[in-house]
């Protein structure tokens, strides 16, 4: 492995703590509570997986963790400190140390720049090293994500979806961050390249203690790469705990439905067609979330109490928390 592509050795893994974080968007139709009263911690050097329905607030929360989204309320701590307590030099350093790889690879690349220019751009802005060394770092980053350096001469519209996504990953790796928010970064990749990229993330983590927040729709991926997992629904955490517990013995009805809907690559005679818990109806409007438990309009186990009382955030096993009045095995 080459040291140039890696975090600075003197640094330590970053820990992140979210304390009652809210992000609300005022719109003409009312306030969207994209993230609502969410608390959790990401331990230094771990991978924290975030799953949840489309529109549940994953990207908004990820942007907040990366320092790109102001909070409506609540606090974020990095290595125990709030960003507001940092001096200018520390803040500049943190901007480099904390990165996000965006969900939409196309929107993240400048259509008028060649791929090589895009990958080098963050280093150009920082003025790191001379041009030749920046070029080397960029080529090497492309190589690490499985792309031939020749691709650097092309423009974004000449790349496939998965190629663009890998360019985005390479671009972030050149900065050698300590904390990376990965927003659906492997969805556009075939399973073999996905495996290679996830191994690369794991290697960088093993050697340099990078901390990841890993957002994905793919349950088999989140279950494989995460140490701990949080499950979001309508801007709120429904369940959180060790990956093995959440993915194998989920306690919240929403997590159970989510896991049961994962399509499995099995021949037809090996699939259990009864397995899927069918959810009734649609995710409610975030402008007008249900009273009590936000999941109650679709929950197969809902009772009268669920409409009246917001379920408490209970620790039901060590480090395993659930927001449900009747949480328990399916």
């Amino acid at each position: 492995m080459n040291a140039r592509l890696t975090p600075r050795p003197s640094t330590q893994a970053a820990g992140v703590r979210a304390d009652r974080v809210r992000v609300h968007f005022p719109t003409r139709a009312g306030t969207v509570k994209a993230v609502d009263d969410v608390s959790f911690d990401i331990r230094p050097g771990e991978t924290f997986g975030l799953i949840g329905e489309s529109g549940s607030g994953k990207t908004t929360l990820g942007r907040a963790l990366a320092g790109l989204q102001p909070l409506t309320d609540g606090r974020l701590f990095y290595d125990g400190r709030e960003p507001s307590s940092l001096n200018r030099a520390e803040r500049r350093r943190q901007r480099r140390d904390h990165q996000i790889i965006f969900q939409d690879p196309h929107a993240a690349l400048n259509p008028r720049m060649t791929i090589a220019q895009s990958v080098m751009e963050p280093l150009d802005i920082l003025g790191d090293g001379d041009r030749a060394s920046r070029r080397r770092v960029a080529d090497e980053a492309l190589e690490r994500v499985g792309l031939a350096p020749q691709i650097g001469r092309r423009y974004p519209h000449e790349l496939s979806g998965g190629q663009k996504q890998r360019v985005n990953i390479a671009r972030t790796l050149t900065l050698r961050p300590r904390f990376i928010v990965c927003d659906e970064v492997v969805a556009a990749l075939d399973v073999s390249i996905r495996g290679a990229i996830l191994n690369l993330f794991a290697d960088l983590q093993d050697e340099f203690g990078i901390t990841y927040a890993f957002i994905t729709h793919d349950i088999s991926v989140v279950s494989h790469v995460s140490d701990r997992v949080g499950v979001l629904y309508l801007g709120r955490l429904m369940e959180q705990g060790p990956a093995g517990a959440v993915c194998e013995q989920p306690l919240h009805p929403y997590t159970q439905a989510l896991l049961s809907a994962e399509p499995l690559p099995l021949p037809s005679d090996r699939r259990d067609h009864q397995r899927r818990i069918r959810l009734q109806g649609e995710i409610p409007s975030p402008l007008n979330p249900p009273s009590g438990c936000p999941f109650r309009t679709r929950c197969p186990r809902a009772e009268a109490r669920c409409a009246e009382q917001v379920p408490a955030w209970r620790e039901v096993a060590p480090d395993h928390r659930v927001a449900c009045h009747f949480a328990g095995p399916a």
Partner: protein
Amino acid sequence: MAHEETGSPPLLAVENLNIAFVHPGGETAITRDVSFTVNAGERVGVVGESGCGKTVTGLSLLGLLPKRTARVRGRILFQGEDLLTMSARELRRRRGRDISMIFQEPMSALDPVFTVGEQLAETLRAHYPVSRKEARERGIAALEEVGIPSPHLRIDDYPYQFSGGMRQRVMIAMALICRPKLVIADEPTTALDVTVQAQIIDLLCELSDTTGTALLFITHDLGVVAETCSRLLTMYAGEVVESAPVDTVLRRPAHPYSSGLLRSLPGLSERGGRLPSIPGRVPAPSEMPAGCRFQARCPHAADGCEQGQPLRELDRERLARCWRSAELTLPGAVT
């Protein structure tokens, strides 16, 4: 091809499709001799290495590649007529009505300045003489089908007012509103969570069961393929390397690349452990070897692989581009 049901001719027959892009320095070949068929009502999955030419192949079927830079050779027979020699007008008449596409990037297919209802109505009215009022009703029904709540209200919204996953569903509604004979779906559910994905998959399967719509389903999700499709095409470096029934490939793939892909599924390895992946990377177009394009990465490469590999017939249902297929026993997704 002999592995097809005999009797009625296929709905779509792609023959020796060669797609290349021209650039100042010359021409880069992307696909080579891609041939496959889709029968009426059949659901065919397409998987393969990122960048191997799946999207480009899909776009070529609708004549949507950039005219200035793309060179397309071969034949694309749809109901016996070659789409490649058809006039632009003829092709437009079929596009949307007989063949439609769900794109990988939803924003590229939706027009930001028109409401979703206007776009649905326009697609319908371009092909059928329906009144404005009826087009609107049909638009609302189409949104309802893809699970958009309060469709009678949402029909007047603009694309930006929908979340990513909802936009994807609007596009699916647009692709289906004319009840086409063939839908090319390019990663239609990648932006969706599994519960909505399950809804969309059910819808697509139900439609093709009841209306006989055929599906060409491009995806990286082998679970989706297993739940939706009956046949699977595997592509590598611009070529189709295997064509076989889905259940057969999942158990016993015939091409080493298909096997490598299936063995890379995370479900097969221990949590937190290393994920298997195929070592090395696909050769750049300029360094494509003669003979088998997978040879530098293939664990079964032997003397003979440096020869050109045609798509060989293994049995009535299976084709593979590997001369060793018959002698190799390759592992799939299940043992």
